[in-house]
């Protein structure tokens, strides 16, 4: 069974990250993979020009050939975070490899072999920093031992650099020239492996250019739809217009008359609930090429039983959700007694916040290639964030054993959580089996926007009490949104503990009376997770409300946040959440919520943005801070109005504490992109439903920001830290939205309570 929330760490799978423990069986597997594997379009051979090449592979992640080639396996999916560079970078640094010559090979989906491959929840670096160091260090240890033996010196007198072992006398030998000696050496006791001092790293903690930069800019990089197989056909699917709709009948005569169309196949859908890993009901047109399949789809005549969701109207539901927040809800966290605080309060602020459904809208729409072979083997090429889940879903859909499904992972043209879900991969597999040929299933933009696993719309109500002496005494947060769990189960009516732990029940401020409540709502579409998940709407509401509370108390919002975080200490959320706070799947003892670290990023961002300066006419600044995915972030957004009244975002300041930073350039790029992504969420994007159907069809209806609307200068300040590394894919998004809203308030005098707002 898959975990309910793959964006939270799956502890069971994490244990398999111990695959860095060398295994001879894996070495053999890797060798066969390397010589025969079709990997991202690269069919590389181990045989070199000097004759027969031999390989040393102490574990599944690293191998070194007698031609002195260092090959590192990237086992996590690359969707733009740079992880395909960052993890191999760690291995290479510990190994002492010549980075400019390292070859990176993408792993196929096989968690038994590689450990967790679910690229989600900003946990790749968090989970694999140590294992990757040990992986590289093990290989280094063995190479050094082999060289020392050859030279009859002590291993302690040797080190590695530029893919060579170097003796203190200056003697050098290429890794490749040690392969013959080292490949049959017994594997060292893992306890004997020493890791390098942090200060000696040449790659970790540095700006390293992504491995695929040149391939991407020359058009050679292989994304999902770019894989070509001999005899491949292309499928385009007409899916149930309303989630849960069923095909009553269809007429394919006109579709089959379109030149190039070869076959029409019905796909049996899951109905209600639709599930996270199943295909939707639909009719597929399979053709010689994409255009013929699209034209064939237009010619299909289908009679649908639209089912119960055909009357669904999202605006109406949102209004009902908002009304529900005025009532008592299910209590999810409690401290003190909010009612008492409310009775004693000198002032009660009560505000509501609404946010819409969001689509992921990756520029690469979903696409996958399947080749179902007659002997019950199905080989897949897909841009998947979660290859093992896709593999399981295909095996289930086709009734195959897991080992009959081979999952090749291509580059992803954006993921943001969408491509965790394997529904499109399952479609390709079903259609390849039906067509008896390799099939690429191609989603159009309209398909992508209509059949996404949406970020849920949400209603929130926050009451804050201020006593007669001006103290902030009470916090009552009501939140309601159709839960992710509802996509798989119709009885999931409240947000889960996992979703609440994302920015809601982990409210960090030192308020004596806290009450957090949820309300029921039902899902009428597929709900999923989008970059930072429920932190998006929780941070929006909390960040805006904190700004209002500071204002009501007459305190600067930055000083107010620092004051309300209180003494430097580790926070506990379990006692007040009935033990249900999940801390992103990590023990809070290992990854504490430390107020001191949060205060440091706030102080840093205020200093860098020169927060206290007097701003020019027509300019304003807003602030918010939010910890998510165990990473501390504070953000200041500058807005300005030009003479024509148009609002622009000239500058953004971020300070981030993500512990040890592995690839500093990619940390900055995630924050730069996160600000842009969040600007879309705040100002342009929304999905609405009428009659169960999304009303936005393409980028004209579902708008994401373009270059002229983008925030201009984005300054990212990374706190130097030796704390355990945490991820940066998602944490830039949450604090940005309230910081922008708070800046808009300063500029216009009007508070923002609903997203998206028009800038």
């Amino acid at each position: 069974m898959m975990p309910n929330f793959p964006f939270l760490k799956n502890k069971k799978a994490e244990d398999k990250s111990e695959v860095f423990v060398p295994s001879r069986r894996d070495f053999l597997k890797l060798s066969s993979l390397a010589t025969g594997g079709f990997l991202l379009g690269v069919n590389f051979q181990c045989a070199g020009p000097k004759g027969e090449t031999i390989t040393f592979a102490p574990n599944v992640f690293v191998s070194i050939t007698s031609d002195n080639e260092v090959i590192i396996v990237a086992h996590r999916s690359e969707m733009g975070t740079g992880i395909r560079t960052s993890l191999p970078q760690i291995v290479a640094d510990e190994l002492g490899a010549d980075w400019s010559k390292v070859k990176i090979v993408q792993a196929e989906g096989d968690e038994e072999k590689y450990g967790n491959q679910n690229t989600d929840g900003s946990f790749s670096v968090r989970m694999f920093y140590e294992p990757m160091r040990k992986t590289g260090a093990t290989a280094r240890h063995m190479l050094v031992a082999a060289a020392a033996k050859k030279w009859e010196v002590s291993p302690a007198e040797c080190h590695t650099e530029n893919s060579q072992v170097i003796h203190s006398s200056g003697k050098k030998i290429d890794f490749g020239d040690l392969v013959a000696e080292v490949k049959d050496m017994p594997l060292p006791d893992p306890a004997s492996i020493t890791l390098k001092e942090f200060s000696s790293y040449k790659l970790i903690g540095k700006d390293v250019t992504i491995y695929d930069a040149r391939d991407i800019t020359t058009g050679k990089a292989v994304f999902g739809a770019d894989v070509d197989l001999p005899g491949m056909q292309v499928a385009v699917v007409r899916r149930s217009p309303v989630i849960g709709a069923k095909v009553i009948s269809f007429n394919d005569a006109k579709a089959l008359a379109v030149p190039g169309v070869n076959r029409v196949v019905k796909i049996e859908g899951a109905g209600i609930p639709p599930g996270l890993d199943k295909a939707l009901e639909g009719v597929a047109v399979i053709a010689d090429n994409t255009w013929a399949a699209m034209k064939g789809r237009e010619a299909l005549e289908i009679e649908w039983d639209l089912g119960p969701n055909q009357t669904y109207n999202s605006a109406k539901q949102l209004e009902e959700m908002l009304q529900s927040t005025a009532k008592d809800g299910k209590v999810r966290r409690e401290r003190g007694n909010f009612s008492t605080a409310q009775r004693a309060a000198g002032k009660v602020l009560e505000r509501t916040y609404l946010a819409p459904f969001y689509a992921h809208a990756t520029i690469e729409p979903p696409a996958a290639i399947a080749h179902y072979q007659g002997d019950g083997i199905c080989e897949i090429w897909a841009p998947t964030q979660h290859p093992q889940w896709a593999r399981q879903a295909v095996a289930t859909a086709l009734g195959l054993d897991l080992d009959k499904v081979k999952m090749n992972v291509t580059l992803l043209g954006g993921g943001f959580g969408r491509k965790s879900k394997p529904d499109f991969v399952v479609e390709a597999a079903i259609l390849s089996k039906a067509a008896k040929s390799p099939v690429r299933v191609q989603w159009t933009r309209e398909d992508d926007l209509h059949f996404d696993f949406f970020h849920s719309h949400s209603a929130q109500r926050i009451k804050a009490t201020i006593d007669k002496d001006g103290n902030f005494t009470g916090w009552n947060h009501h939140t309601v949104f159709p839960a992710i769990g509802a996509t798989g189960s119709t009885t999931e009516l409240h947000p889960s503990d996992g979703e609440l732990g994302l920015g809601c029940t982990d409210f960090p401020y030192d308020v004596p009376n806290i009450k957090i409540e949820t309300h029921e709502s039902t899902a009428h579409t597929r709900i999923g997770w989008l970059r930072s998940v429920s932190n998006i709407h929780h941070a929006f509401a909390i960040g805006c409300m904190m700004d209002e509370i500071a204002e009501a108390r007459g305190i600067d919002p930055v000083k107010h946040a620092l004051q309300m975080l209180g003494e430097d200490r580790n926070l506990e959320f379990k006692p007040e959440t009935d033990g249900k706070y999940e801390n992103y799947g990590e023990p809070i003892e290992t990854f504490p919520w430390n107020t001191g670290r949060m205060k440091k990023v706030i102080e840093r961002v205020a200093k860098e943005a020169n927060w206290d300066q007097k701003l020019a006419e027509g300019k304003a600044v807003g602030f918010a801070a939010h910890k998510s995915f165990l990473t501390y972030v504070a953000c200041i957004v500058v807005v300005e109005k030009d003479s024509s009244g148009k609002v622009a975002i000239p500058e953004v300041f971020y300070a981030v504490d993500c512990g040890i930073g592995v690839n500093t350039d990619r940390i900055r790029s995630q924050f730069e992109g996160g600000a842009q992504f969040a600007t879309s969420l705040a100002t342009t994007s929304a999905i609405t439903f009428e009659n169960g159907i999304p009303q936005q069809n393409n980028f004209d209806g579902y708008q994401i920001i373009r270059m002229p609307q983008s925030p201009k200068k984005i300054h990212v300040h990374i706190i130097e830290s030796m704390e355990k590394p945490t991820g940066v894919g998602e944490p830039p998004v949450p604090p940005y939205i309230p910081a922008l809203c708070n800046a808009m308030y300063k500029l216009t005098g009007e508070r923002i309570y609903e997203l998206p707002f028009k800038a």
């Binding site: 250019t209 990756t362 980028f699």
Partner: protein
């Protein structure tokens, strides 16, 4: 279905296709040139940008029958060695995140620089407004265009 001969990256290519088939699918499906990407099919995102003569166009909305004698240039043909100043600047600034939209961005920028070798910030923003990037690499795209414009 009709036969068409089109010039792609300096080479004549003969294809048999529905006259309405967009150039994008001719390139990707019939000629197996995968550097030009599909994003929206409606000329709204720019991922499919190629050149017709010196003009940046959206190949997803350009039927093969309208190409005629005009020369098609794709990312594969922008520079033989893959070292067009924009491509080098893109690597220097490490512009790409996921990378999917970047071939379209580069082709669009290349057409801009042909017309306006030293574009201002405002000119760049206006010219690049039709190319979406969901990862949010806009600022580095702008920096890379400025860098390339200096080396032209």
């Amino acid at each position: 279905m009709e036969k068409f001969t089109i010039s792609v990256n300096g080479k004549n290519q003969e294809v048999t296709a529905d006259p309405d088939m967009p150039l994008l699918w001719v390139l990707r499906d019939l000629l197996s040139m995968k550097g030009t990407k599909f994003g929206c099919g409606q000329a709204l995102c720019g991922a499919c940008t190629v050149h017709l003569d010196d003009e940046a166009i959206r190949s997803c909305s350009t039927p093969i029958s309208t190409v005629g004698k005009r020369k098609v240039t794709t990312i594969e043909g922008l520079d033989k060695e893959g070292h067009h100043p924009l491509q080098d600047a893109w690597v220097e600034h490490v512009v790409p995140q996921c990378g999917y939209c970047q071939t379209g961005q580069i082709m669009n920028a290349a057409a801009l620089l042909k017309k306006s070798p030293n574009p201002s910030d405002a000119e760049i923003e206006e010219a690049m407004a039709g190319n979406l990037c969901r990862c949010g690499t806009y600022n580095r795209i702008k920096e890379a265009i400025l860098t390339a414009s200096k080396s032209l």
